[in-house]
């Protein structure tokens, strides 16, 4: 059985590279998600504080 080295290197390099790229994208999405959730919860807290001040 003769090895097709071009194909093997393409699969190995491409596979590793794409795996890193996919997980980097997921990391960025996770970071953005955390920012959005943090801002939304800060806004909710601020609205809650404003309502309490109005009542007082």
């Amino acid at each position: 059985m003769s090895a097709d080295w071009g194909e093997a290197i393409k699969i190995a390099g491409g596979g590793y590279g794409i795996t890193i790229l996919v997980l980097l994208i997921l990391a960025i999405l996770g970071y953005v998600l955390a920012l959005i959730v943090k801002k939304a919860s800060a806004r909710q807290d601020k609205e809650g504080d404003d309502k309490e001040k109005d009542k007082a």
Binding site: Y16, V22, L23, L33, V37
Partner: protein, 391 residues
């Protein structure tokens, strides 16, 4: 025996005796040394079951694959009961996927969500997979498909290994799964020398805050959905693995399906685990095991774990170069090694080495992030292999 029936003694040869000893050794390691007992004990027993001559629990084709058949074939002895279990449970991919669902239901991805750089280490720790893929192919003992299955052992994750091997190289499922689970249990022995070689004493002593930030319930719920949609749009062939993992995780994170999550991560996964272990064990009759490919797989598996550990550590050191340029605090590069997704053993190795280098350090939660991310990394790479290699 006594002219009434045929006993097994006459059919025993040194090959089957060695296999019976190997089965016994695995059971010993599982019970006495507590090395992956949930898997090594069923695998060891399965090896013993299939290597008792004339037992009839499993029959094989001339290529060494479990014979296919129907219930009628079962009654005539052409196949054994474990042939049916193998074909309907393992060859159909149902059992490994459902085990991954259970793993998702047991997994808290909080440490990975809290520190997104964990995903980078979960990816770079797949280095051993691609290195061994190339080495296996270089030897010309393995085809492209078989090389991918030998390489995926370096991902240190059982279900993706079984999932990929059933599709690409079912004739190697026995030795590959045995190598994968055995080396997972040996992570505390394999990883430390590699970590010490690649890091200085000063680097190993780098202090990190023990607690990662608190992750909100909303993040926990959105995470599995985003990961599933994101990863599978990019790598569609990873959908079965990533989908099951994230579905199980959603059951846990939603907070409203506790009973389902507890069942999936409890009795459900336990039942499937011993069925998988037993079935894998029965794939190793002596005539299948005693091939040069099997010994090569056992050797290459070790190389895969070494390079995977190295991949994670070197990535962490690279991140430190950037952090130094940005004048931020460095991370302890050992947490990269936890990207090898032998959960939680790799993380515990990092914790132990961290405490030895600096008794103030408690690295476990920092290491759990890459540990969890590694399961996603291995699933994605398995999906990429399925997409790139014809089978």
């Amino acid at each position: 025996m006594f002219g009434w029936y045929e006993s097994a003694f006459g059919a025993l040869d040194w090959h089957t005796l060695v296999m019976l000893l190997i089965g016994g050794a695995l059971i010993y390691l599982g019970i006495a040394k507590k090395m992956e007992p949930f898997l090594l004990i069923p695998i060891g027993f399965g090896i013993i079951l299939v290597n008792i001559p004339h037992g009839g629990l499993m029959t094989f084709t001339s290529e060494g694959l479990p014979a296919k058949g129907t219930l009628d074939d079962l009654s005539t002895g052409q196949i054994g009961p474990l042939n049916l279990l193998f074909h309907y449970g393992i060859a159909s991919e149902i059992i490994p996927l459902l085990i991954f669902l259970g793993i998702g239901a047991m997994t808290d991805f909080g440490p990975a969500i809290a520190r997104p750089v964990s995903f980078l280490f979960g990816a770079t720790a797949q280095l051993g997979v691609v290195v061994v893929f190339l080495i296996a192919y270089l030897t010309e003992w393995f085809t492209l498909q078989e090389s991918a299955c030998v390489g995926i052992i370096g991902g240190s994750d059982g279900p993706p290994t079984v999932f990929l091997t059933v599709q690409m190289a079912p004739q190697l499922l026995g030795p590959i799964t045995l190598a994968a689970y055995s080396y997972m249990a040996l992570v505390p022995i394999v990883q430390p020398p590699v970590i010490r070689l690649l890091t200085s004493k000063e680097e190993r002593a780098i202090y990190m805050e023990p607690q990662v930030r608190e992750v909100s319930r909303l993040e926990g719920i959105l995470f599995p959905v985003i990961v599933f949609v994101g990863a599978t749009l990019l790598v569609p062939k990873a959908a079965p693995l990533v989908g099951m993992l994230m579905f199980g995780n959603l059951l846990r994170a939603s907070g409203v399906t506790q009973r389902l999550a507890e069942t999936a991560g409890g009795p459900f996964i336990d039942s499937l685990t011993f069925i998988l272990g037993l079935s894998v064990g029965t794939l190793m009759p002596a005539e299948v095991f005693f091939k040069s490919q099997t010994l090569a797989i056992l050797g290459l598996a070790l190389v895969a774990f070494v390079f995977s550990t190295a991949g994670g550590v070197l990535a962490a050191k690279f991140v430190n170069l950037i952090l130094v340029l940005l004048k931020k605090e460095r991370i302890n590069p050992m947490i990269g090694a936890a990207g090898v997704s032998a959960v939680p053993m790799s993380a515990r190795v990092v914790q132990k080495m961290g405490q030895k280098a600096n008794p103030r350090n408690f690295l476990l939660m920092n290491a759990m992030g890459p540990n969890m991310a590694g399961t996603i990394g291995t699933s994605v790479l398995a999906g990429i292999f399925l997409g790139m290699i014809a089978h």
